[in-house]
Symmetry: C2
Amino acid sequence: MTLDPHAVGAAGEPQRITWTAKDCSLYALGVGAGTGELAFTTDNTRSAPQRMLPTMPVVLGTGAGVLKKAGEIDWVRLMHAAQGVEILAPLPVEGEASVVARITEMWDKEKAALIVVECTGTAPDGIDLFLTRMSFFIRGSGGFGGERGPADTTEEPIGKPDETVSYQTREDQALLYRLNGDRNPLHSDPAYATKAGFERPILHGLCTFGFAGRAVLHAAAGGDPDRLNSLDVRFAKPVYPGDTLHVDLWNVPGGAAFRVRTGETGPNGEGVVFDRGRATIAG
Amino acid sequence: MTLDPHAVGAAGEPQRITWTAKDCSLYALGVGAGTGELAFTTDNTRSAPQRMLPTMPVVLGTGAGVLKKAGEIDWVRLMHAAQGVEILAPLPVEGEASVVARITEMWDKEKAALIVVECTGTAPDGIDLFLTRMSFFIRGSGGFGGERGPADTTEEPIGKPDETVSYQTREDQALLYRLNGDRNPLHSDPAYATKAGFERPILHGLCTFGFAGRAVLHAAAGGDPDRLNSLDVRFAKPVYPGDTLHVDLWNVPGGAAFRVRTGETGPNGEGVVFDRGRATIAG
């Protein structure tokens, strides 16, 4: 069965979600924040009222299920290829929202399909809080009669980065991160990971996304979550728990360009795990 | 106002508690278990069905509130002096229980009061699951007309330990552990900790208790939580997050004796943070 190119615009049922200060702390610890970031990791530090890390909406309501509206999905050959988040209003540390997932793009790359799902989180008072954007690449699902779509024209920054922030991930990073919701054993069970073709369990791409967001927040937005308006990356390679992440940042008009690598970058981009990173930053 | 020596036997209202596999994972990670202990840290590792760490009952229902039945408590001068746990039945990873706290001992040490509170957790089918035992030392609250009580005759083990297990705690250990419930800013807020007389936030005594329990479980009970029947320690000195814990174990009839230290032990017990440790172990 092929995909239906007319599924663009299809939306899932609204999903009611709630979150607490404890959830915000757990998320922050899961993406490596610690004693140096008490405003994100603790709820009652007098000098640092708690804030939600701006990348946290990616774990608040997940919308991949809406893909079923595009036709029969070959889940085994589906890859989460890119991720974005937009902060539309200050995010409370305790709150609730209604999340709606929507298929916003479908492109026929002949050998593969590229589908974009956006989730919008709306507060009970009707104010949109956040938008997350997931791009899925499905090998073998092209040729369904859709359009090829535009080429990605995001330019890779050139030259030495303006700043590099390095974070050491931990051996058990994925064990902690998965308590935010994604319990895929690919990130925890060695036997399962080996069967899937990896030497051992890999880190969640969205965990690395959180580390990258912290680097951007602190290096380019003065640590102020209200200044970080959006963050987008493309997933290039898997990260293993225990890897050191180097986030290279370049100042660009309106924000920052960035990439994440786990070592020195080779001539063909070896070592790069996230590329095409873009952040829009206010003020 | 003085304490009432006749409060022995007073019980609090039953408290209904529930816990999930996620709670068990969070607790295990909070006391330092990681990728080497997937049976305690993950819920879906095929080769290692999840188990609750046997020290976890100390965060399931806390009963210090029952102390109010003993009279007016000087909370500022109260110290959590010792802790024990008894496992009365195999602990499910998802469950519920009714917890009743009871004052079981009150001793008048002239300059201080020593009060023991026991909490019993009972499953809905009436089976007792666990018992926790907290000893509180309240400076300045002696002289209430109670008995002095027996001297502690627990003998310190002599000679070289049969085994020493070392664990490195992390800078952010208390930030993670506190998500199990005890959000006292003494363990997270530097300004608060300084005001309380410490150079920086200290680790929860019950977090160190969990590390000690893991050492006993793996070194003396073959990693099998069904073999660890009880664990008791006396808190001697505070631990700072980032300290390395050395758990010295001695085989004794019916189980193990142990102590925990953060460095070399001096002639007067310098470096010892837990002493009088006793574990009863089956089979």
